[in-house]
């Protein structure tokens, strides 16, 4: 228990920890090797325990709790033996569904949010395109009105859960050619004719998570699947990104701490030049520095959660936390690998996987430079901005 977490949170933490230890960790080796995990087996188990709808309304199977409970879950997921599966789960809970839960109609929530919370349907968030990652305003996937429907054409790239998703939360252009205006968020069932997975991507890390290029050829989707008013997609997605980024920060902070503690254990046991590695001042000082940075990041993350729970805008702080998390994860990975020596470089030990997986944080959910841009904008120092 702590200032932030009460006994109920701690009971919940024990439960999620057990879920990770029993339902995820024993399968990590195989799922990493398979380059995919069985979302349709794992998600219903998580759903049955209430893990996929913590903050969502009880009317749709959620628990109606505040973000502190989500924080507990994300921290425990972040301690799993890989980053791929936690990311895939967070796509379902914090990346593809927040806008639906916040702005969807009752019918939409009945139809799409309910199975997302139960884990019977797997979701993807489909924003990035081959020519538009950081520059979301450049997306070209189009949704043209045809009667009560949209006809959707285009493609999306790097889509997590993409080869096994039942639904996409798709950002598409409903008018104009470039810019923030004229985009809409639309729920797309992947059994729609015209949908196809063009390629499953091989990646540096997060091997257990499937990532895909998707293509859309004259997909007919009812306009009733659009979340919120037409043209509001960009704004809704920017709101949704806050949850995505914060989730990434919380999971990775827990993961960093775990890997540092693993490194401490290793350096205690490993002897060089007649003494344990940890007895070298360079090593224990460096580890203490990293622990200090991680603690500072965690406190920033908790500040973000407090701000979010209070219903205030968290964009600037969440962007700062995301920037810091990406950079720190790289430093932690590099330093801890170094202290493992040759053991850090071989697959017999979890270190190498962490090193690979950690690299994504500075790119996914908005690259470090995009975070810097957002912070600059909030500080009023982005060129061309009025003071």
């Amino acid at each position: 228990m702590s200032l932030y977490f009460n006994q109920e949170h701690e009971m919940f933490r024990q439960m999620v920890r057990r879920f990770v230890e029993n339902e995820i960790n024993p399968h990590v080796e195989k799922w990493e090797e398979d380059r995919i995990f069985p979302a349709h087996e794992l998600f219903p188990k998580a759903g049955a325990l209430g893990l996929l709808g913590i903050t969502y309304p009880e009317a749709y199977g959620g628990s109606g709790l505040d973000y502190w409970y989500e924080t507990v879950m994300l921290e425990e997921l972040g301690r799993a033996n890989c980053a791929g599966i936690p990311m895939a789960i967070a796509v379902q809970t914090d990346m593809a569904t927040p806008a639906l839960a916040m702005h969807g109609t009752h019918e939409q929530k009945e139809k799409f949010l309910k199975p997302a919370i139960a884990g019977t349907a797997v979701f993807s968030i489909a924003v990035s395109e081959p020519d538009a990652g950081s520059d979301v305003a450049a997306i070209r996937t189009r949704a043209e009105v045809d009667g009560d429907d949209y006809i959707i054409n285009g493609s999306k790239m790097w889509i997590t859960n993409g080869t096994q998703a039942d639904y996409l939360t798709l950002l598409a252009r409903t008018s104009g050619d470039y810019g923030f205006k004229g985009m809409s968020l639309i729920i797309v069932p992947t059994d729609t004719p015209g949908f196809s997975v063009s390629k499953k991507l091989e990646k540096l890390g997060n091997h257990s998570s499937d990532t895909a290029i998707l293509s859309f050829d004259n997909m007919r989707i009812p306009q009733a699947n659009r979340i919120g008013p037409e043209g509001m997609g960009f704004i809704l997605q920017m709101q949704q990104f806050q949850k995505e980024r914060l989730a990434g920060v919380i999971m990775s902070t827990a993961g960093m701490e775990k890997i540092i503690r693993m490194t401490i254990d290793y350096c205690r046991q490993r002897q060089t030049f007649g003494k344990p590695l940890i007895d070298n001042q360079w090593i224990h000082f460096k580890i203490c520095e990293l622990l200090t940075e991680v603690e500072a990041l965690r406190q920033l993350a908790y500040h973000c959660v407090r701000t979010l729970v209070a219903g205030e805008d968290v964009t600037k702080e969440a962007s700062m936390a995301k920037l810091k998390a990406g950079r720190l994860a790289r430093e932690v990975a590099d330093t801890c690998l170094q202290f493992h020596g040759g053991m850090g470089y071989v697959e017999e030990y979890p270190m190498a996987r962490y090193f690979r997986d950690a690299r994504l944080l500075s790119i996914g959910a908005g690259a470090d430079e995009i975070m810097l841009g957002i912070i600059a904008k909030y500080e009023g120092i982005l060129p061309g901005q009025q003071k």
């Binding site: 109920e8 009971m11 049955a48 325990l49």
Partner: protein
């Protein structure tokens, strides 16, 4: 049908036991894990809940005799799906041996009243005696069914169970009420759900003390028949390494074989 599940709170499975020179026993978890619902008792709790789901039990009451802190284990059981919890706790009960604990639990089960089945885990991972279920059965005068690996049928005042023995399984039928102790083959304990946890953490758990129970024969340190006269840690085994050196492998092997023969290893 009323079911009582008797559980104990124990150190975690990763906790390390130390005994100081004064014979004081301490459990410490290196990872700081809190005390838990005795892992064997998870199967008992699960089976209690299944008696409700599959055999029409109306109440599944989880019961423990222990310190105030044991509420945590009761709450875990409530979060899994037990319908009510009772903590029996009193300074007068501390220092009870298994007989004393059995008397307390039997008195509590009698106070609950109308109980048909009392479910126990096989043993507790700290004390490790495995005696309590049988002793409670004796105090209550109920049939003990130990090492139960499946409950086949409950009805018409009878219960049919499968018992897992060293050399096989046996199916037995007994008249209710019974005391059963279960083995891990019986089920796969469920996780407490988030909603279960929320309900459980708010539950007001009644505490029964010595004044609430008529404990026949008494309990607590004074009534204890077992005296722990000496508790000590097993001295760590000291080993030593001897490198055998010789000019040839054959010579090394011959020396090794001789030594092993001398030590009566071969």
């Amino acid at each position: 049908m009323k079911v009582v599940v008797c559980i104990k709170q124990t150190p975690s499975t990763t906790a390390v036991l130390t005994v100081d020179t004064g014979g004081n026993v301490k459990w410490d978890d290196p990872g700081g894990k809190p005390n838990v619902l005795n892992p064997w008792d998870e199967y008992a709790v699960e089976e209690g809940i299944r008696l409700k789901e599959n055999h029409g039990a109306t109440d599944v009451i989880v019961l423990t005799a222990g310190s105030e802190e044991s509420q945590e284990a009761l709450k875990t059981s409530l979060a899994m799906g037990c319908t009510a919890a009772i903590l029996v706790s009193d300074a007068a009960f501390s220092g009870s041996d298994t007989t004393g604990t059995a008397r307390i639990l039997a008195a509590a089960i009698n106070k609950v009243g109308g109980v048909d089945i009392a479910v126990f885990g096989k043993q507790a991972i700290d004390g490790d005696t495995g005696l309590t279920p049988m002793q409670v059965a004796r105090k209550l005068g109920w049939t003990p069914l130990t090492y139960v690996s499946a409950i086949k049928e409950v009805g018409g005042g009878k219960i049919t169970v499968e018992r897992l023995l060293d050399d096989g399984k046996e199916t037995v039928t007994a008249n209710l009420p019974v005391v059963i102790s279960v083995v891990k083959e019986i089920n796969e304990p469920r996780y407490p759900s988030l909603m279960g946890i929320r309900k459980a953490s708010r539950a007001e758990i009644p505490t029964w003390g010595a004044g609430d129970l008529a404990v026949a024969g008494g309990a607590g340190a004074a009534a204890s028949k077992v005296d722990w006269s000496n508790i000590y840690a097993i001295p760590p085994r000291v080993g030593s390494v001897e490198m055998i050196t010789a000019d040839t492998v054959e010579e090394q092997a011959r020396i090794l074989a001789d030594k092993l023969f001398e030590e009566k290893v071969i």
